[in-house]
């Protein structure tokens, strides 16, 4: 049958005499792993921003390393702890030719913060109390309390054009973006591709390529195949098991960076045996994280330094290091805690949510079993997972990845009672977390997070495994590309030779 079908396919090909569309010379083609059904900045998961920010821009942006850089605001200053002034970039034009002004900024911030507006990331700038236009190129933002996270929050809010939105209505304006960004909207086909053309008047200089196509290829093996076949120039998220087949090809290159996603194994510290910190430490000594990183993540990413946040995240404590792999010590600690005979244990995990998640959990379970903690892995469906989370019923251990997007405030929240999801309860930690988010003094904030990392290292509410990598691949002739820690596509300077 396969020969027959093969012959049919062959015949069809020969008749039409067509060859598969190779990527065209002036078009950059990117194979995206996640492709949402919306171009709207108001809806869709975080990853929607990867499409949104091709055409739109925020006031303050993140660079590929999660550092804040000027975008539509050229510079900014805090006039008082609750009063910020933003000096807007001059000479910026919307894609329809009208000039970008302070009115657009005020319009966007006002509608995002309006309690009646449905805007998925409005919580990112929740502290804003009001905006004022100072002059055409200056905007003031006031916050209810000192808000050290305002700038990072603004990086997730795309500034939209007042005139276009008022003329077309929000829905229509979000369907065909008119932005200030490096690329202009051309065509959108749901679930298949997003076509854009270069904005020659972009304030940061015109993009290196004339056109851009972002293709939706959710299946990893297919994404890799599209790169090998030359249909795409860059692909996101190379599956770890396919890395060798990309690496051995001379015309392809792998690029990796460490994301700000920390993969951890969280304990239910309310119940025995993990209410005993000695048992939690035994688990930490029993897991050979370096070997796991090599085997399950292809050696990309990194082992966390015995703390929640990755090295590049604000709040990382350089004085703390990961506990070494030491099964003898693990067994000794278990015996000391009265578990010389070991015990039965279970790790809950999602499947396919994080890179190699089930493989990592299974290998860790094997290592725990080797020291007497007889561990099984329980793969949980997403809907059930969210119910377990909500009811705090994940069981003795569960594997999860926490995003920081560059600031420790963001993932430490999940260990405070404010998150309503934490099993661990530490009053000092909760207090420090509140302190860290209510002062603009960067040194003081850093000290706060350093102390929080110390507490976590000693108390071990979770085993801190890896800063997960983002592994992308490209044709060797592609220049100027690097994967971003925050997973957004930054393609303005990418060139194909």
């Amino acid at each position: 049958m396969r020969r027959l079908l093969g012959a049919a396919a062959l015949a069809a090909t020969v008749i039409a005499g067509s060859m598969p569309a190779q990527a065209q010379d002036d078009t950059l083609v990117v194979g995206a792993a996640v492709f949402t059904d919306s171009l709207s900045p108001a809806a869709g998961g975080y990853i929607t921003l990867s499409l949104v920010y091709q055409t739109w821009e925020p006031l303050v942006a993140r660079d590929p390393d999660d550092k804040l850089v000027p975008a539509l605001a050229e510079r900014w200053e805090a006039l008082s702890p609750t009063h910020w002034r933003f000096h807007l970039r001059r000479g910026v034009k919307w894609h329809d030719g009208t000039p970008f002004t302070a009115a657009d900024v005020k319009f966007t911030i006002d509608y995002v913060t309006d309690p009646k507006t449905v805007y998925v990331r409005k919580g990112r700038i929740a502290g804003i109390a009001g905006t004022e236009i100072v002059d055409e190129h200056t905007v003031d933002i006031r916050t209810a309390k000192p808000a050290p996270l305002l700038l990072r929050g603004l990086a997730d809010i795309a500034i939209e054009q007042k005139a276009v939105t008022e003329k077309l209505g929000q829905k229509e304006a979000h369907r065909r973006p008119v932005g200030t960004g490096p690329w202009k909207y051309q065509e959108w086909v749901a679930g298949d591709h997003y076509d854009l053309v270069a904005n020659p008047d972009y304030w940061g200089g015109p993009p290196a390529m004339k056109k851009l196509r972002i293709r939706a290829i959710s299946e990893g093996a297919t994404r890799v195949a599209s790169l090998i076949a030359g249909e795409t120039h860059i692909i996101e998220e190379v599956p770890v098991d396919l890395l060798p087949s990309v690496e051995r090809r001379r015309n392809l290159k792998v690029d990796a960076t460490e994301s700000s996603v920390s993969l951890v194994l969280t304990f239910d510290t309310r119940k025995p045996p993990f209410d005993d910190v000695r048992v939690r430490r035994a688990v930490d000594y029993a897991i050979d994280k370096k070997t796991l990183l090599q085997q399950m993540l292809g050696g990309y990413g990194s082992v966390l330094d015995g703390q929640l946040v990755t090295k590049a995240t604000f709040g990382h404590n350089p004085k703390i290091a990961a506990r070494p792999f030491d099964p003898a010590k693990a067994k000794a600690l278990l015996a000391e805690a009265g578990h010389a005979g070991g015990f039965d244990n279970r790790i809950n995990t999602l499947s396919g949510r994080y890179l190699s998640d089930v493989d990592i959990a299974s290998a860790a379970a094997g290592m725990l079993s080797a020291v007497g903690i007889r561990t099984t892995v329980n793969v949980v469906e997403g809907g059930v997972w969210s119910q377990l989370d909500r009811n705090k019923e994940q069981g003795p251990m569960y594997q999860i990845g926490w995003f920081s997007v560059g600031d420790a405030d963001f993932n430490t929240v999940w260990y405070t009672q404010a998150s309503r999801r934490a099993y661990w309860n530490n009053a000092e930690f909760d207090r420090l977390w509140q302190e860290g988010r209510s002062t603009l003094d960067e040194t003081k904030r850093l000290d706060t997070y350093h102390r929080m990392m110390e507490i976590m290292h000693e108390e071990l509410p979770s085993i801190f495994l890896f800063g997960l990598p983002r592994i992308s691949a490209r044709q060797a002739g592609v220049e100027g590309w690097r994967p971003s820690r925050d997973s957004l596509l930054r393609l303005h300077k990418v060139r194909v030779r």
Partner: protein, 304 residues
């Protein structure tokens, strides 16, 4: 005509059953308010939505509201994208219908030809080889076959694109993948049906009157043997839809199947309801067509 009317009157029944089933599953998999609002919702927001969604009323009444909304074409708003769920699904429908139509067409065409060949050369080499291939084709999981086809035709030979939607060449691999797991059924059913019909007395009579082999086959046997094959088309539609989910994922085909799977993962309930409903409508309508075609082919069905 009365037969057609009777069949049309039966159309809403399976749709109503599907909708009822979806409703029950939705209520079983958790509090809709929690799914819609997420973890950070305030109690006031929850109360408001509960009233808006009629969740404070008895279950049968809730079902009535649910039905009333569906009848007005209101499948709710996508949780992720905040746009009407049916609009999101409708955008993807064409891609899926194209794939299903071609896959089914190829499967029926190849299956009937091969089945006839098996029957004609029963217990000889062609029958033997085709039957083995049929079993092999049925045993091959689509995701595996799809990846093999990509490897061979797109990568090794470079004849066809690996994935995505574009010109007709983008259709070849997904269509072949989808057809492959259906073809075996059509081969086997055609083979048996042709063999059984060939034993009927009217065939013997035709032969006795001097009709030659090929003529008997195409004019007398096949028209009488084809009805079980047409029934099979109706029966296979559900499986075909399941195959489309896998095929669309492997080949990055922008259809309803892939949308439905990602919506399930994202807990985007309105999209799931809308896509299940659209799939159910497609299958029910196709089955109606199958019945009508059968009635047209075989007058005995109309008389019943």
């Amino acid at each position: 005509m009365r037969y057609v009317l009777r069949r049309l009157l039966l159309v809403p029944v399976p749709l109503l059953l599907v909708v009822a089933f979806v409703f029950v599953v939705l209520r079983l998999t958790g509090d809709p308010v929690a799914i819609y609002l997420g973890l950070d919702a305030t109690p006031e927001q929850e109360e408001l939505l509960r009233a808006e969604m009629h969740l404070d009323e008895p279950i049968p009444l809730q079902f009535a509201w649910f039905l009333a909304d569906l009848l007005q074409g209101d499948f709710g708003t996508s949780i992720q994208f905040k746009t009407p769920a049916m609009a999101v699904v409708a955008e993807r429908l064409e891609a899926t219908l194209v794939l299903l139509g071609l896959g089914l067409g190829l499967a029926v065409g190849l299956g009937v030809l091969a089945g006839v060949a098996c029957a004609v050369w029963k217990d000889r080499l062609p029958d033997f080889v085709l039957s083995i291939l049929a079993v092999a084709g049925q045993s091959m999981p689509s995701f595996w076959l799809g990846i093999l086809l990509i490897q061979f035709f797109a990568l090794d030979l470079g004849w066809l694109p690996t994935s995505g939607r574009g010109g007709w060449d983008h259709l070849v691999l997904p269509t072949v993948t989808l057809a492959t797991f259906l073809v075996p059924n059509f081969i086997l059913v055609t083979r048996i049906s042709v063999l059984e019909t060939a034993r009927e007395q009217f065939v013997t009579t035709a032969r006795a009157r001097g009709a030659r082999g090929a003529r008997t086959l195409w004019l007398h046997v096949l028209p009488n043997a084809i009805n079980p094959v047409v029934s099979l088309v109706g029966l296979q539609l559900g499986r075909l839809m399941g195959g489309a989910v896998v095929t669309e994922t492997i080949f990055a085909w922008p259809g309803v199947g892939r949308l439905m799977v990602s919506a399930i993962f994202q807990r985007d309930v309105p999209i799931v309801v809308a896509s299940v409903f659209i799939v159910a409508v497609t299958i029910v309508v196709a089955n109606l067509l199958v019945d009508l075609v059968q009635a047209a082919i075989d007058p005995r069905i109309r008389m019943r």
